[in-house]
């Protein structure tokens, strides 16, 4: 087996990230990405003028969820970096928009995936980035050289 000959190559050290429990995180991100993408697509095409800010944010969050899903699933250094940025973006997004939607409810008359810290999605948008970041930092790519 090739992978037992050189177990210390960088690519080898990063594969643990996309195995085991990592695959469950990817599955949950895929579900969230599908749900958010479908919902925001529907909202923007049918009733964008009702809540343009909320629906635009929904679309952004959906795109980032899709990026995060693939970045988490793909082994390698670049994917790891992309995943870290995408998951941090989601954590900050759910915290900022969650607080914002409580302070200025008029702006968010229609709910988004991030409204009230993701209450419409069982707070999974709030919990998942924390688990995702823990997993990513636990499985850092090996240092170069």
């Amino acid at each position: 087996m090739a992978d037992t000959i050189s177990p210390t190559t960088p690519s080898e050290k990063t594969t643990g990230r996309t195995k085991g429990v990592g695959r469950i995180i990817v599955m949950l991100y895929a579900i969230l990405a599908l749900a958010a993408a479908w919902r925001s697509g529907f909202q923007i095409l049918t009733k964008f003028d009702d809540a343009p800010v909320a629906f635009s944010l929904s679309a952004v969050s959906a795109v980032v969820y899709i990026i995060a899903t693939f970045a988490l699933a793909i082994p390698g250094r670049r994917a790891w970096k992309t995943a870290v940025v995408a998951v941090w973006f989601e954590l900050i997004g759910v915290l900022v928009i969650g607080a914002w939607s409580l302070l200025v409810p008029d702006l968010f008359s229609e709910s988004t995936v991030w409204s009230t810290f993701g209450i419409g999605y069982g707070f999974i948008p709030l919990i998942l980035p924390v688990i995702g970041l823990y997993w990513l930092y636990k499985h850092r790519p090996a240092p170069l050289g």
């Binding site: 996309t18 195995k19 085991g20 429990v21 695959r23 469950i24 990817v26 599955m27 949950l28 895929a30 579900i31 599908l34 749900a35 479908w38 529907f42 049918t46 069982g122």
Partner: protein, 117 residues
């Protein structure tokens, strides 16, 4: 009726699937047949629900596009979980598949709300 027999049947299948997959996660270190079959049961239920929704005389209360979009999304989730679950054959394959049952439960509730709400 949002909480009718169709909802409870789907909810039961979804929850049973999740329970079966979680038990399989504990006792099997490979993708268990029972997990895969429970996903197949969820998929079969969704097919029957979709056919029933198509031929039923009860009109949709909400937008048809949203309703059928949800059904299509629900229908592709079990195959995604199956293929993603079995590409890495470990204990965790079962937990990947366990995510589907509760998701489908929520989606069926949403479908019922669009249809009858």
């Amino acid at each position: 009726m949002i909480l009718d027999g169709w909802f409870y049947t789907g909810a039961t299948i979804g929850l049973l699937s999740a329970i079966i997959c979680i038990i399989a996660t504990i006792f099997r270190n490979h993708p268990a047949d029972s997990s895969i079959l429970s996903l197949a049961a969820v998929e079969l239920y969704l097919f029957v629900y979709a056919i029933y929704a198509f031929i039923s005389p009860v009109p949709l209360n909400g937008p048809a596009w949203e309703f059928w979009g949800y059904i299509i999304t629900a229908l592709i989730l079990p195959p995604i979980a199956f293929f993603w679950g079995i590409t890495d054959k470990t204990r965790w394959s079962n937990l990947v598949m366990a995510a589907i049952g509760p998701t489908i439960l929520v989606m069926i509730h949403r479908l019922q709300v669009i249809w009858h709400g």
